[in-house]
């Protein structure tokens, strides 16, 4: 039988990988990663500011920096990462089947994904919510006025689920036109196939930069959902989960303590015990995680603290232009909700 089923074949391969792979009681993802010599990290197929490859193939974004932080912790070298771009639809199967070691792909933490898919969400590196973008010519200023519209959306996301909840709750008529790639959904919206495009608001800001004429569109004020985006690992390796989680916390804690990639070396002479512990000069945080004592130093030195990562990738001065002050993605001490447990 000649099978010509392109996408289907991908899933089939996964299926076969799954039924044929032997049950290795996961000795340790960390050891596997060290043996391979690089971290396989699942990212998006291109969301500027989160994970996006430039013309030379260099990846940047806050999700990319999440991968880099873990690589810095494990290898002492943030560049030892192999990026695997994934669609929303495929990401969890690829993670489950072991083709990647972690997923950092603007992925929303939900109960059914956390508990139902045998996965582990390690934290939140960006607090987001879903929104809508429309053409200015549509003369619409509120999502409540979207009636009888066609909405372009990416399949396999929380987005398509929230979309339905919102229109149903507000008794508005709509048609969801679903695509498997963000680029296709955006292009369809841009060509007039849909009247509205919807995704996480960070995604709207990012995708807008790809439209033919970004100034012709406007993001509606409503935020219709909670989208805590964060890295994900498989649920069968507690140590690996801890490594990923604390790689994130260290970046947040560093910002709170005023430690950055620029001043970290001068900070080594500090008397502050919190900073000393953070830098591995006191205590043995590395040992608990099975890492070298310099693991946290390497993250901050090579990747930066959370604030540096934020401003460089999605901050007000970038094309994405998401102001941090007043948003949840600010430290708890400055009115946001970023709060790292004590590193000790």
């Amino acid at each position: 039988m000649k099978i010509n089923i392109l996408k289907f074949l991908g899933s089939l391969a996964l299926f076969l990988a799954f039924v044929t792979s032997s049950v290795t009681a996961n000795a340790g993802t960390k050891d596997d990663v060290i043996k391979k010599g690089s971290l396989d990290c699942g990212v998006s197929q291109g969301v500027p500011g989160f994970s996006n490859a430039d013309a030379s193939g260099k990846w940047t974004g806050i999700d990319v920096d999440m991968c880099r932080a873990v690589a810095a912790a494990v290898f002492g070298d943030a560049n030892k990462v192999k990026y695997q771009p994934l669609s929303a639809k495929d990401r969890f199967e690829v993670l489950k089947s072991g083709q990647i070691d972690m997923l950092a792909r603007n992925t929303t933490w939900t109960l059914s994904r956390d508990a139902g898919l045998a996965l582990e969400f390690v934290g939140t590196n960006f607090y987001d919510g879903q929104g809508f973008i429309v053409r200015k010519a549509a003369k619409i200023d509120s999502a409540k006025k979207l009636n009888n519209v066609k909405v372009c959306v990416e399949t396999g996301t929380t987005t398509e689920l929230n979309l339905r909840d919102y229109f149903k709750a507000n008794n508005l008529k709509y048609e969801a036109v679903s695509f498997t790639k963000a680029d296709e959904a955006v292009a369809a919206y841009d060509a007039g196939r849909c009247d509205v495009y919807t995704t996480d608001k960070s995604g709207l800001a990012a995708q807008r930069t790809k439209m033919k004429n970004p100034a012709d569109h406007t993001v509606l004020p409503e935020t219709i959902s909670k989208e805590p985006l964060g890295p994900v690992v498989r649920g069968d390796d507690q140590n690996w989960k801890d490594i990923a989680a604390w790689s994130l916390y260290v970046m947040i804690e560093a910002e709170e303590l005023g430690v950055s990639s620029k001043n970290i070396d001068s900070m080594k002479s500090t008397d502050n015990p919190n900073i000393k512990r953070l830098l591995g000069l006191e205590g043995d945080t590395g040992k608990s995680l099975g890492l070298t004592p310099e693991w946290s130093y390497n993250i901050i030195k090579q990747v930066g603290n959370y604030g540096e990562v934020y401003e460089a990738n999605v901050g007000a001065k970038t094309p994405i232009g998401l102001a941090r002050d007043g948003s949840p993605n600010q430290l708890w001490t400055k009115g946001g909700i970023l709060y790292a447990p004590p590193v000790r």
């Binding site: 899933s11 498997t180 007039g192």
Partner: protein, 394 residues
Amino acid sequence: MFRIDEIKNSLKKNLQLGNLVPQFLLLFVLFFIVYYFTSNAQTNMAARNISSGFGFLQTNSGFDVQFSLIDYDGSYSFGRAYLVGLLNTLLVSSFGIVFATILGFLVGVARLSNNFLLSKLSQLYVEILRNLPLILQIFFWYFVVLRNLPSTENSFIFLDFLIVNVQGAYFPKFIFTNFNAIFYGLVCALLTIFFAQYYSKKLIYERGKSLPIFKISILCLILFTTIFSLIGNTDLQLQQAELIQNFGIFNYVGGVKLVPEFLALLFALSLYTSTFIAENVRAGILSVGKGQKEASKSLGFNNSQSLKLIIIPQALRVIIPPTTNQYLNLLKNSSLAAGIGYPDLASVFAGTALSQTGKAIEIIFIVMLTYLSISLIISAFLNWYNHKIAFIEK
């Protein structure tokens, strides 16, 4: 699919002891392989704490689908979503098969025509469309042709019957009152046609006279349905989609709507497959001995009569088996739909439902089984047909 006597013969041969041992071995190996894979999958799932089972089919899907033949939205179950995908696959495949067959026959016959231009044009058609990858042709129709249609408020409108814009094509809905009458008219017409055919066969055998049975049939259909609908007071209303404005957004609502994703897939599948069918038709016609045509000429048949009554019936035996393959290919190729977002079985169920539930094994299993079953049904039907029209050798 198989002839009973063939099966009997091969069974007899196979049941000799010398043959039995290797066959049991083969069976054992097969059994072992299946057992190994299923038990391995189960252990893997247990080890990864993945719940299995088909219970999810009854829970709410939570997602909508833009194009569905049955009532569906996110409040229906995943099982219903499966049905939506299946029907969409069957819809595009059956339309595709019909169009590909008609086009294929026309092009195949035209290719053998004495008209130089016509035959060269058909050759060009076949050579171009057959040699371009199907996915590219789908993209061509979708991204190049249908994407560049005018916006909703500037739609092309043909005689108020067809509205075309970047969001799709709209036809009026046919709304009948007292449809029963037409239905009874149809039944009567079909019965009459059946008897007319029987009678005309008798006429041919007994007196060598032929009736214009095709014309009679058409006449019957028209006559009976109009008379019945007049008596039964049938009324037909055309309900075309209406342009609705909501601030600066224009949308057609109502009517029968064909989305561009469907149209692009249908065009590409029909044209691509028609080239292969055209080649089958050409080969079939060429396989009929030259003598047949000459003989029919000397019996006084004109060109179209000899094609219709002598050549095609014989050619069909050669055409049908490879054409069955093309039908199966078309069905399987329809799963390229995911590339442009047409909600077929593969993209709704093996795509969206799979990623929303994580039930990879169950879903892939269901989808494979479904494609396999449809394929087997199609080939069983065509094998039966081929067998029916085959020469009865004495």
